[in-house]
Amino acid sequence: MSTVFLALQTNEETRPIIEAILQDNPSAVVDEQPAMVKINADGRLVVRRETIEELIGRDYDLQELQVNMITMSGNLDQTDDEIILFWKS
């Protein structure tokens, strides 16, 4: 499977989001770069709203992630509950 990735700015808002992503994606690997955190995963990566809400203790709209996103790779599908990045092959 090819690697999908999501890169986020390194800041206080993304810290719990990255933690949530790592909880939900056991195969995900974190690559910390200057001012940027890149999360790589094999073929599929999911960002779940509920996990983030548990960690930050408030309601969260996944579209808020727009503010801190740097780049990504893979096909994307976003609903109210999750963002999925995936390759089909």
Partner: protein, 517 residues
Amino acid sequence: MDMQVAKKKLGLKERYAVMTRGLDWTPSYQKMEDIYPYIAYEGIKIHDWDKWEDPFRLTMDAYWKYQAEKERKLYAIIDAFNQNNGHLNVTDARYINTIKLFISGISPLEYVAHRGFAHAGRAFPGAGPRVACLMQSLDEIRHAQTQVHSISNYNKYYNGMHDFHHAHDRVWFLSVPKSFFDDAITAGPFEFMVSIGFSFEYVLTNLLFVPFVSGAAYNGDMGTMTFGFSAQSDEARHMTLGLEVIKFILEQDPANVPIVQRWIDKWTWRGYRVLTLVAMMMDYMLPKRTMSWKEAWEVYFEENGGALFKDLARYGIKMPKCAEQIALEKDHLSHQAWSTFYNYAAAANFHTWMPDEDEMAWLAAKYPASFDKHYRPRYEFWREQAAKGNRFYNKTLPMLCQTCQIPMIFTEPGDATKICYREVDYKGDKYHFCSDHCKEIFEHEPEKYVQAWLPVHQIYQGNCFPEGTDPTVEGFDPLAAVLQYYKLEHGRDNLDFDISEDKKNFAEWRGQATKNI
């Protein structure tokens, strides 16, 4: 950010449908082909525009909210950066030349992208792509503006940036990025989406923004890092638009596949040639390096682009064939580009220099197959000559490639000792090319590329001197007249970094910032 999340009555999918297709209507007074006149001539067949959906499902109401948040964060940091004389915290003053390259080479392209997406969005009958193009068009003008605002603080202190847009439209090497985008916006709306939306945004943008922005972060430039990341936060959406458009076109009709493949081949190569400037920026202009050009190419194109083209294989799309030549060039590209700019430092809007010993060691480690053999000896010779007072400034004009407009500096694929020349005879004229790929692009659309505004030809034709210049007077100095036409001041905006006002001022100001005088 601690935003209040209101309870929504509709789910994301429903809201997206209501706010895109729900706002669209079928015209009855006018014919569709009169309203959308550019949609058929490229040969792309679309049967059902409603099959296109933005996977982020972003609607205009949410768009304004998040963009406003990005702007607030950005301007708070720009203010802090300026108030604290942030420009004196960069690693060393050589770094500022990357900013000059960016404002004159890249920021004007953001503005052209704004126009391009506005035009493409207007041309598409589908509500989904039209809304996504509208957002991207607004993003692009935001990028142009925030870059001008951030960099204007550097312009107060350093040379060469004072009239970046004037320079963009005239300075010889800036015709490379300018003609790239002019080529894209003068194509049809589908080709524009494949050229900029897909090939540039999806396949190549990581190579521009991620190294540039990480480079800014590594070199203490908080202002640039912040506008870079702010722009980049829009890029994820642009990449998604680019990929979705490609998938949509390919799924609509099998007859679209060969047309799209030709565009991907063409625009991957065109975009890669523009990135020559980024390659030399990464390997030579950042005092503190993040990664080498070669490493960035391997991560972001070979690995990531490889995954992308493997995914697109189910539609019959193949990796662009130019990838093979690019792989052969990756050990040479940045060195050949920097050598050229070192030569032409008298005619550019930024300074160049020779790498020091530590930097040569870094280059040798990153490029074991090429640096010590081909490039170190020439740098050592130039450094020796400069030490003797013979710093070489090339004042003759180079031959340019008719397609990419880069001087013919590149070597044969696989032979770094021989310059690559290709030529084509067309309607009684001879045209020159840097590579087989640029030649093929010309051969497919000669009537477009014969119109290229090539800076060297224009200078020789006398079109790049200030009005009223008489080139026949005795002692006429063509370079001096061209610099006046560029609005660049000889001895101030150009030449070697070592003798520059920037270097002197930066040292003096940094001294003042740390001592009581």
